[in-house]
Symmetry: C2
C-alpha cells in the first residue's frame, strides 16, 4: 500500500495547471489544447495516478457499480446468472458486487441498511416462488430498496411483482415437460421439489397440472412431493414417495425441480435397484455443466441463464421498465425413455 495517495492536486501542481484542467484531460474532454493535454498526461503516467472513483461518485452521483443478490452461488445455476450479468456489466463499464440472499431476509437483519448505504447504480435480485408470508416480506424489502436504487428482478418472478424483470415462465416449461413425457407414453408422472404454498400463476405446479390435463391424465397428489433444492433433498423425497406406494403404483417418470434434485433422484433410484431410464425416466432443470457426465446423462432444460443475467443488466442500465421472459429449451440426453408396457 502506498504511503499517501496521490491526488489531482499533485498532478495539477506538477504540470503547472489547475485541477480543472487535469480533470478535463482525465475525462477526455475535447476543450483542452494538445500541448496542455500532453503535458498533463505525461505527469499522470509518470506518477501512475488513478483518480478516486469514490470522489468521483461524490460529485457525479453515479458510482458505476451494480449489485446482484443471489440465493446461493454454490449451485452453478446461480453462478451462470452471475457470470452473464458480470460480463455484461463489465462491457458497459460497471462493476458487479454480489450480495447474499439473506440480505433480503429481515428475519436475519435489516436488508436495506447495508444495500442502501452503498450508493449502487442499480440492483439485480434473483427471486424464487415463496410461501405467502415470506413472499410478502420479500416484496416489502424490494420496494424499500427501490427507493434507493433501480431494481431489476430475475428468476422465478411472481406475476404480481410490478418490477422490471427477466422472468422464467416456469408454468410453460413444466407444461412442455409433461407433454414430452406423455409423448413417451408416461402416465404416472411425479413432480418433486419446490414449496407447497405458493400461489403464482406462473409457478411450476400450474404447468404440471395443465400438462396432465392436456393429456387427460388424473392429478394424483401422491405423485407431488415438496422439498428443497439439493441432491439430498431430492433423494429423500423420492425414496419416501416410493416407500409410501405399492410398486405397481410407482411413477414411471419423475420431474425434478432442478438438476440437483434430479441427481438425488437418480442416486435414490440406483440405491433401490431401479434402472434409469428403463424403469424410471428422470428430467431435471438448469442444464448444469455436469449433466452430460451423469449416468445416464441427464435430460434437462436449458434456461439460458447467462443470457438472462446479461439482459437484466441491460434493463437495469437502460432504465427500461419492462418484463421479459427468459428463453428456454429442452435438452434431450439419456435419462428419459419410452415407457415399457
Amino acid at each position: 500500500m502506498s504511503s499517501e495517495n496521490i491526488t489531482i492536486y499533485d498532478i495539477a501542481s506538477d504540470a503547472g495547471v489547475s485541477i480543472a484542467t487535469v480533470s478535463r484531460v482525465l475525462r477526455g474532454e475535447s476543450n483542452v489544447s494538445e500541448a496542455t493535454r500532453k503535458k498533463v498526461q505525461e505527469v499522470i503516467d509518470r506518477r501512475n495516478y488513478r483518480p478516486s472513483s469514490i470522489a468521483r461518485g461524490m460529485t457525479s452521483k453515479t458510482t458505476y457499480s451494480l449489485g446482484i443478490i443471489l440465493p446461493k452461488l454454490l449451485n452453478p445455476h446461480y453462478a451462470m446468472i452471475f457470470t452473464g450479468a458480470q460480463e455484461e456489466a463489465r462491457k458497459l463499464g460497471y462493476t458487479m458486487s454480489l450480495f447474499p440472499w439473506s440480505s433480503l431476509d429481515t428475519r436475519e437483519y435489516d436488508p436495506a441498511a447495508m444495500l442502501a448505504e452503498r450508493r449502487l447504480d442499480g440492483l439485480i435480485v434473483c427471486v424464487e416462488y415463496l410461501p405467502p408470508d415470506h413472499d410478502e416480506q420479500v416484496l416489502t424489502s424490494l420496494q424499500d430498496l427501490r427507493q434507493y436504487m433501480p431494481v431489476v428482478l430475475i428468476g422465478c418472478v411472481p406475476a404480481s411483482y410490478d418490477f422490471p424483470a427477466v422472468a422464467n415462465n416456469s408454468a410453460a416449461m413444466m407444461r412442455e415437460i409433461v407433454k414430452y413425457l406423455t409423448s413417451l407414453g408416461h402416465e404416472r408422472i411425479a413432480f418433486i421439489g419446490g414449496v407447497e404454498e405458493d400461489q403464482d400463476p406462473l409457478r411450476r405446479d400450474v404447468g404440471y397440472e395443465n400438462g396432465l390435463r392436456d393429456a387427460r391424465l388424473p392429478y394424483i397428489a401422491s405423485y407431488r412431493a415438496y422439498c428443497r433444492g439439493t441432491p439430498g433433498d431430492g433423494a429423500a423425497a423420492l425414496k419416501e414417495m416410493l416407500t409410501s406406494l405399492k410398486p405397481e403404483y410407482w411413477p414411471t417418470a419423475v420431474i425434478a425441480l432442478n438438476d440437483l434434485v434430479a441427481m438425488g433422484c437418480m442416486a435414490a433410484a440406483r440405491e433401490k435397484g431401479i434402472a434409469v431410464p428403463e424403469q424410471l425416466s428422470v428430467i431435471g432443470c438448469d442444464n448444469l455443466f455436469c449433466t452430460p457426465y451423469l449416468v445416464p446423462p441427464l435430460t434437462s432444460i436449458n434456461t439460458h441463464q447467462q443470457q438472462a443475467g446479461a439482459r437484466a443488466v441491460q434493463l437495469l442500465v437502460s432504465g427500461e421498465n419492462k418484463r421479459e421472459t427468459a428463453d428456454w429449451e429442452l435438452v434431450e440426453r439419456g435419462s428419459c425413455a419410452r415407457v415399457r408396457k
Copy 2:
C-alpha cells in the same frame, strides 16, 4: 428511485441539531445526551435515512469493500472460494466484489486501471501456476496493484511470490495421491492436466515425480499429459494417451488435475469400454458437490476452499503478512480400486 436523496443536513434541520450531532448518533458515539440521541434517531427512522457510504469513504479513507479476482466462477471450485470469502467479509462488515481474472491480464487491457480507481480496502487474488512468460506479467500486475491496496493471494501460489497468502501445497497433495495409488498396487499412473512450462517447487509435477520416486517407480513421459481444466479437455487428453499406447501399456490409474478433468476421463473411459475402477482408477481434486453422484462416485481431494477463502479475508483485514497452507484431505469414494493382477 427517490427523487432526491436525503442527507445528513435534512436530518439535522428536522431534529434541530447540527450535522456533527447527527453524525455522532449515526456512529453510535457515547458523547451524546440521551434526549438528543432519541430525538435524532426518531427523525432518522421517520425519514428512513441512510448515510452515504461513499461520502463516508471520502473522509474516513476506508470503504468497507473488498475485491476478489477469480479465474472463472463456473467451476464450482471457485464459487466455493468466493462463498467462503464473502461470508467472512460480511461477518466483518465488508462487502465483496468479484472481478474476472482477465482484470489481471494486460493482454486484454490495463488491469490496474479499473481496480485501482475503486478504493477497495483490499484485494484477494486467486492465482494458478502459469507458464513463465505469463507468470512474470501477472506478478508485475500484482505488484502494481499492491501500490493501491493490500493484496492477499489464494490458490496455487508460486513459492517465489512474496505476498501474504493461503496457498495450496500441490506438491504435497500429489505425492500423497501417488502414495495412495501405489498402496493399491498401481504402477502405471498417469497424470493429466495443467501447463507444461511452470517451474514452481510446489507445483503438482514435483509431487508426482516425488511420489513415483518414493515407490521406486519410473517416470514415464507418456503418462504425463497436459491440458486445460474442463471435462472436454480431460476426455480428449486421456483418449489421445490411450490411442498412442498399446493396451498392455495403458495406465491403470489416472490422476486428474481437478474433478472436471476427472469427469472427462471417466466419460472417455466409458466410451472406450474401460471399466472404472476395475480397469482404470480415476482420482480428481476439489471435491465438487457432484462427485458423490457420478458413477462410480469420484474419489477426490477436499481442499477446504471455503475455509481458505475465509482465511484470506482474515489476513487481508488484519494486515498480517504471512503465508499459510490450506488444509486438505483425501476423500475416498468409489473410483479407485486395487489393481488387478
